[in-house]
Symmetry: none
Subunit: 225 residues, 2 copies
């Protein structure tokens, strides 16, 4: 059963809601299910799965690819307020690759099953366009992750800088803006911000308005090597 | 000036043509330009460029990423009849990464400039949806390329590259240096040289100063499987 909160949340995150007919709205509301995932559980396993579109109310998901010999590469993460579209990859005609999706924490999601969303896309181009844009967001995230993995330069460079600074200052807290860090490492502020955000997601640093606090020196050192 | 052939070609490849008003059609026809690119020329260079959407009448384009230290990884290729959308990345709001695009052969394209296509997207959701789907196609191609680079053993990757190239060129002789092959497959020259030497020892290829000749296609195919 949907709560009052869910009924407010759905039109908020499905930004095409106003472009739906009343019938289409009812169709979604009838076929959307609250689901709980335990921390560590597998939500989606490659091409064999196609549960549907996940509106994340609370929790973190990790989307990754898996090689035949078990090697994993994280593509991106999703959290509160995000929408997971690749768990509905079977209804996206131009998607030909497989990903895996795990719950990294206990998760509360609203699930629109794949068939319902597919029917909606067939009858409403705004719903289709919304899904496509979510895929393109994922594409941008994936490109970023891939460049880190393949070119392996900037994460290392930033990790080296942070290691050097905490050693030099004899403090785990660096009172530096992203702008200042960017100047020191010879990069752009946006690039630094994005990488620090990634470090924070990985539990390596904590970010605050005034600076950066290193909370896992072991992980930071592993990046440097 | 557009030829009669161009006027037939445009509605064929822009599959949303029927969804355009006469004004929108005229707007495109007024702002589409035949362009010739010489083999080897750079068509698009990362974030600084945004020429527009390319309808490829004839020729091959290579789309790739480039690291700060000059390492290249080929994402995908486009050919006759394909449409290149990432050369208009600035008008795609959800695209935050940069690619480079080169002409691998002499190319004849029809160019719709970025501003014109952007205006079209703003006034016609079918045009926007068409562009988004092209991006998603690219995403699938990129995922495939990435999995090759990240997961596949290198002998297999090189064998696939050589197979594809001899099929594409319809010749068993590839006039490529080890350096060039390394760029295409996203590896280092030394790694390519070592593997080619191994392939030569196995009687799969013959090496000469100017290139590589495949002499045992059966063995090469066995590596690909």
């Amino acid at each position: 059963m949907l709560s009052e909160q869910d009924l407010t949340y759905i039109p908020q995150v499905l930004t095409f809601w106003d472009k739906l007919s009343q019938t289409q709205k009812n169709q979604i509301l009838k076929n959307i299910t609250p689901v709980h995932y335990e921390k560590g559980s597998r939500i989606h396993s490659g091409g064999s799965d196609c549960i549907g579109v996940l509106l994340i109310k609370k929790g973190n998901l990790r989307v990754y690819i898996l090689s035949e010999d078990g090697k994993e590469i994280t593509l991106y993460r999703l959290r509160d307020g995000n929408i997971c579209i690749l768990s509905a990859s079977c209804i996206l005609e131009n998607i030909t690759f497989d990903v895996h999706i795990d719950a990294e924490s206990d998760c509360e999601v609203l699930l629109i099953d794949a068939i319902t969303y597919q029917q909606l896309c067939a009858s409403n181009i705004y719903a289709e366009n919304f899904a496509n844009k979510l895929v393109i967001d994922a594409f941008s995230d994936v490109m970023w992750a891939m460049e880190q993995v393949l070119f392996m330069s900037f994460d290392k460079r930033l990790a080296i800088f942070l290691s050097d600074e905490i050693a030099r200052n004899q403090s785990d807290i660096l009172e530096l803006t992203h702008e200042q860090i960017a100047k020191y490492v010879g990069s752009a502020r946006e690039v630094v911000s994005r990488m620090l955000k990634y470090f924070a997601q990985e539990g390596i640093v904590e970010l605050s308005r005034g600076g950066v606090k290193v909370i896992d020196k072991k992980k930071l050192r592993e990046l440097v090597i």
